[in-house]
Symmetry: C2
Subunit: 250 residues, 2 copies
């Protein structure tokens, strides 16, 4: 049976998603919980790597199991075996060919900024503090330049394993509520650190340190710009998109 789980996690105390020896990872904790529930060594497939400190609101993983637990009951059955900072939101059976990573058609990441003068104890692990006021319309004008199909080589860190730097950027929205500013980026795929470098570029635009024209030039030349890789605690994987036919058992 092929099972799809959606996970929420607080990335603060994880060394990212991917299993590594000697450190605490999402994959490692989930596989341990599955072993404790099923008595079965299960290898799970995550939808992407996420770095240490990055959060997920609905991170999909899939795995094969011989278990007879009803597919919809995995959330309830697994949660008591999982730590407080990692829980299953939903579970379901999917076709044998489904794979959380290779079936993905696109993803939405949110980068959350706290725009104020003093640091926030309540948001310290869940947003990035920007003290200087942001010009939101300038950020929106800059964001438009990313839309469409481009080679995003200028917006990745060294170490990207994705062989295809061409991505379809479907939407970027910037919403402000009180002193929180959310940058929501939806694309067919993301290169290593791409969401965090794009968010850094948009913060620069909000401070008038880069123009929309310069973003178009970066996309054309593929030359990495000056924008920071913003820190991980502001980043959330919000959604991974699958085609209905890839999920349907009928």
């Amino acid at each position: 049976m092929n099972i799809l789980l959606y996970l929420e996690y607080d990335g603060t105390a994880f060394h990212g998603y991917q299993r590594q020896p000697f450190v605490r990872t999402v994959q490692g904790e989930l596989e341990a919980a599955l072993f404790s529930l099923l008595g079965e060594e299960v290898t799970i497939h995550g939808s992407s790597r996420t770095d240490a400190g990055v959060h997920a609101l609905a991170y999909p993983v899939s795995f094969q199991t011989a278990s007879t637990i009803p597919p919809a009951k995995f959330a309830l059955a697994l949660n008591p075996h999982l730590p407080e900072d990692l829980k299953v939101l939903e579970s379901m059976a999917v076709p044998e060919a489904f794979h959380a990573r290779s079936s993905s058609r696109g993803k939405t990441y949110v980068y959350r900024i706290l725009q104020r003068l003093q640091p926030s104890p309540l948001h310290r692990n869940q947003a990035y503090l920007v003290r200087r006021p942001l010009d939101i319309p300038a950020m929106e004008a800059a964001a438009e330049r990313f839309l469409g199909t481009h080679d995003f080589s200028a917006f990745k860190s060294v170490g990207s394993t994705d062989p295809n730097p061409v991505k379809d950027m479907q939407g970027i929205t910037i919403t402000q509520e009180g002193d929180l500013v959310d940058i929501r980026i939806t694309a067919s795929g993301f290169l290593y650190n791409m969401a965090r470098i794009m968010a850094g570029t948009l913060v620069d635009a909000g401070h008038h340190r880069i123009t929309p024209e310069e973003i178009t030039t970066l996309l054309k030349t593929g030359k990495r710009g000056k924008a920071m890789v913003l820190p991980p605690q502001g980043l959330y994987l919000e959604k991974v998109y699958y085609a209905p036919e890839d999920l349907s058992l009928d």
Copy 2:
């Protein structure tokens, strides 16, 4: 010089506001930071006690100091001496007669509920999970019964030190955004655990376990009802009200 500070804190790792030997408290950490900045033993006056795990969005404290630091600069000067879960948002000079607790005219507390089936890693220390759906209009109808001036003896825990159980309840609003439900309570004062017991009563109303009439009866008889003291992690001190003339130096 009499200084007023507004604090934000994440109550998770504090044993409440009030200084106590051998445990970590907000007052203890703030007095240590003031000593480290000023080299002066300062006693601070908080606006109320808050329990372990309770948060504050703008908690006022006042203190006398011989320091010559410009009053508006205390936030910037103190924050490097404070831990990540406690920061100063704003600072100002106030008249000599001002006292964060005794000058208070009223307060607003927010109780935050997460309404969904599975626990949330990202909200685990900052909201209370309620699995059963809440009937919000029923909560609003119940909340109306609290409005006005009443003896709130039925809505306090043993150990209340406030000699006056009569409070003026000025407003209760319930707002829902996604799966978060915020109960916002504004009153002239709060007895021990009053906000958490009122929130528990409103959750019971949302589950049709108490009627508005029964709330009126509790207020009249002063007999403690069946509602839970909801856990501390959902509670936030949002605002303390002062009269403009008590804050004005002119």
